[in-house]
Amino acid sequence: MKENAELRNEREFPQRETGQGVGARLPRKEDDRLMRGRGLYVGDVRLAGLQDVAFVRSPLAHARIRGIDVPERYRGSVFTSADLVGIKPIRAVSGLPGFKISEQPVLATGKVRQVGELVAMCLAPTRAEAEDIAASVTLDLEDLPAIHDMLKAREPGSALVHEHWGDNVFLETNYEVDISAALDAPIKVTREISTARQCMSPLEGRGVVATFDPRLDQLTLHSAAQMPHITRSGLAECLGMEEGRIRVISPDVGGGFGHKGILLPEEVCLSWLTMRCGHPVRWLEDRREHLVASSNCREHHYRITVYADSDGTLRGIDCEATVDSGAYSSYPFSACLEAAQVASILPGPYKMPAYRCRTFSVATNKCPILPYRGVARTGVCFALELMLDLVAAEAGLEPGEVRLRNLVRPEQMPFDNITRKHFDSGDYPEAMRRALAAIDIDAIRARQEQGEADGRRIGVGVSIYCEQAAHGTSVYSGWGIPMVPGHEQASARLTPDGGLELRVGVHSHGQGMETTLAQVAHEILGVDVAKVRIILGDTAMTPYSTGTWGSRSMVMAGGAVAAACRELGERARRIGAKLLQHDPAAVVLQNGEVRGVNGSVSIQTIAHTWYRRPQDLPVDVDPGGLEVTQGYKPVRDSGTFSYAAHAAVVAVDSDLGEVEILDYVIVEDGGVLVNPLVVDGQIYGGLAQGIGTALYEEMPFDASGQPLATTLADYLLPGPTEVPAARLDHMETPSPYTQFGVKGIGEGGAIAPPAAIANAVNDALRPLGVELMQSPITPHRIVAAVLAARAAERSAA
């Protein structure tokens, strides 16, 4: 690691001996509530006079609305776009040149552009009755040609999702560094690779309870959301209201993953409705709505060529990537973030001299696509790592060896890669070496030589990625989307009895931040973790924040909590010095007390004195008291780069197409880990989702744009028996730029598994001439590929 005085992180751990500070494997405080079923989710919010909403949704992917017929007896309980006077459509514009703007009406006007699009809102005392009303509404729709294939949508003459665009491309981007220099490489491999459209499927779906308080003149929206402050800004824009007249509360949230990161048309609709009808209203997303009508993710297509020297050294990558962005641009991430990110992150953790990537964000008659845990990285890692295995095969090398030859080396850190990503620190080759050793690659090769008694085929696969996290202003201002993160703020307040309250604007929906942020505070102030309360998810009670996304919360909110606690500690120290009748320069704050040569005074006593016995304070005490708000940004905001090497061993039954994961190893470096137990949990959860991408999850569509997996019997998610007991190994290379040297790790677990598993399956089936380049790898795809390879062999013979 290069030493750089300016970029030095503050790595001091005075509280480590208490076992509660940074680095402690503390069980999560919130689990006592959550695991006993005592959490309070939007569905648990009970308000007097609450009524339920069910929506009439478009049954067609693309149609002109000729009429909406509401039975006489239900007029007054059904609302359409004609009722929503003055409500603006959702607009998420990117500042990238050429971006085409979509307007998403909160209730459809003129035409519908996806199955499940909201057409009318039905209100009743219960959801069942509201659904009865919705079933009675008749839509007169004129069917239009629907586009569900993003590659066809790019072709001239395709039907148009947004007619006035003239084509279906939200945004095209081009990035090139000297690709001509790679063209004479002796190894040239070209493939088409694709990842299926998925539904994020958190345990809790979206949900909204809206109410209006005339006394405060304030709309309160309870919403299962990751980014309540951003939701408020978006609502204010659509409703034409001052932000101060809106309060967004996100109570306990059962998983976000990006699904809960957008402004929903439903949120706008219910906000309007409660103000119109004068009582609280509720909508809870059901599982069919989630699968059919809500945000989707992951659908990528790559035409990719990798150039390499005969020793496996990468010479360059040339790629055309297409992302199916769906019908509308979602607020605030926009329709282009996914594809445009592909171009910037496709080179992965590797060094190469030449690169070209062209991307298309394509509009189709499908649900909007949203960034899902790992965002574009899961698709990118899948494409790149499958290609590297092909390069290895061409070069006659072990797949691990090709990676080791091309990974950025530790002595090159910090490293600016070919797309100008600034890798902050780490030893990528070491992670790969450890993964190869742990999976015991030599033993697997020997086992493959012997064959299996049960006739299955064994395969081993690896993948590696690095993940930019907590990237801030300098990165996001370039995208020009409605949300650009700046300084993250936290408020810290000592209570009269010496407890600590922390208010932060990010949210916790499974990340364990009620524990980890308390550990950060303990690290600085020495207040017992049990006495630290974390207040999250309420715009009225927390500082503004873009919220929880991009693996940013530990870096950003953790840094802000540290900064606020440091300032609070300083104020406590100065009061403590007065109480000890010491010169402030002669006392220190340590283990929750202010200590001087003559004795010590606890933070609890200091707090008690400030609030309850001000007569004991000296007249010249700092009037700021024991409540501070501080902001934080890393010394460089281009992001932390955590990384991990994954290795999988699978057994493939080539007759049934069944894949069993026999062993799984993850070697991960998230910088300094605030709570390794929580990090393990994050990785296990991400792995489960990655296995879903690899083997199970897919939302197929028919030719008319109808989504076909409408229940969880058709949309398969991995369960406990599908997720192996992975073996984890942590490396801990601090980031030089962040508080404590932490890096964001929230998404990584979901990035690498599809690539590692696909590589393992292909390794197992390569002797049969089989190559699978599409996720998920289903039994049918495996068997079809095996049969095709057999047929090809027969016709060649």
């Binding site: 069942a128 059901d286 069919r288 007759d655 019997a713 028996t721």
Partner: protein, 278 residues
């Protein structure tokens, strides 16, 4: 996802249940364990005017061996069979099938009569019981009739039940000492509906075999005289004589155009044959 309004009755005896069904003009649905009907109601895929909850009918919970065959009341649960609370004449065959139906929570509530009535092509009992040569008794106010399982299942989600009729009991013949049993299925994940099922009852001593290829999106393929699948005769070497090409033709005739699907079905059937011969 809430059901459309319906009336609900929970009769105390079978005659009362049959009267309710008879009086409903075909607009009633019977619920027992509710493991399939519950979701279908919530998705509004079915919108009956009346739900007749038969879970209180003690006469449908009986399980007894009578005249050399096992008679299972329609309300016997998969878990009852899995746990051995019912008698068994199949030498463990039914118990093993029951133990792998969906998840334990489904097995606790789901009933054998409900599973048959629902007639899901991917369900286990319609294939396993057809291979075992079981029959089903249907009762209405007009009386009772008995059908072979393969005659009872007439299509995907379609049985021979008439309006006003209910599955009363399942009759399972005893598996002879010389009869071999094999049952295999392939599922995307644990507890998921199978996408291929093979069930085999082979008695080399009697030179007879029943073979079922199930989970094919329509009624299972039931071959009651399966000699053609074994080169024309059933003998001790039937494992070696299994002819995949005949199975392939059967599947193609059943309308399965996709070669990979047929390959998976044949592979599963082969596993069942191997298990029987093991």
């Amino acid at each position: 996802m809430k059901p459309a309004p319906f009336a609900y009755e929970r009769p105390r005896d079978l005659d009362a249940a049959l009267s309710m069904l008879a009086g409903s003009n075909g607009s009633a649905k019977i619920i027992a364990g509710g493991q399939s009907l519950g979701p279908m109601l919530n998705l509004r895929l079915v919108q009956p005017e009346l739900i007749v909850d038969i879970s209180g009918l003690a006469e449908l919970k009986r399980a007894e061996v009578s005249g050399g065959e096992l008679v299972l009341g329609a309300l016997v649960t998969h878990a009852d069979i899995e746990d051995g609370r019912t008698a068994d004449v199949t030498r463990g065959a039914m118990r093993a099938v029951a133990a792998n139906i969906a998840y334990r929570a489904v097995r606790n509530r789901g009933t054998i009569g409900g599973s048959l009535s629902h007639a899901d092509p991917a369900a286990d009992w319609i294939s396993a019981l057809a291979a075992l040569g079981a029959r089903v008794t249907l009762r209405s106010l007009a009386g009772a009739r008995t059908l072979a399982i393969e005659a009872f299942i007439v299509g995907a989600l379609e049985s021979a039940l008439h309006a006003g009729e209910i599955v009363e009991a399942v009759h399972v013949p005893a598996r002879t000492a010389s009869a071999h049993w094999g049952y295999a299925k392939s599922c995307r994940k644990t507890g998921e509906f199978a996408h291929a099922i093979g069930a085999v009852l082979v008695d080399p001593a009697a030179a007879s075999a029943r073979i079922v290829i199930g989970a094919i999106d329509t009624t299972p393929i039931v071959v009651t005289d399966a000699a053609e699948l074994f080169g024309g005769r059933i003998a001790a070497d039937y494992k070696q004589r299994f002819d995949a090409r005949v199975a392939d033709v059967l599947l193609a005739k059943a309308g399965i155009d996709d070669a990979a699907q047929r390959h998976i079905h044949i592979s599963v059937l082969k596993r069942a044959v191997l298990e029987a011969a093991a």
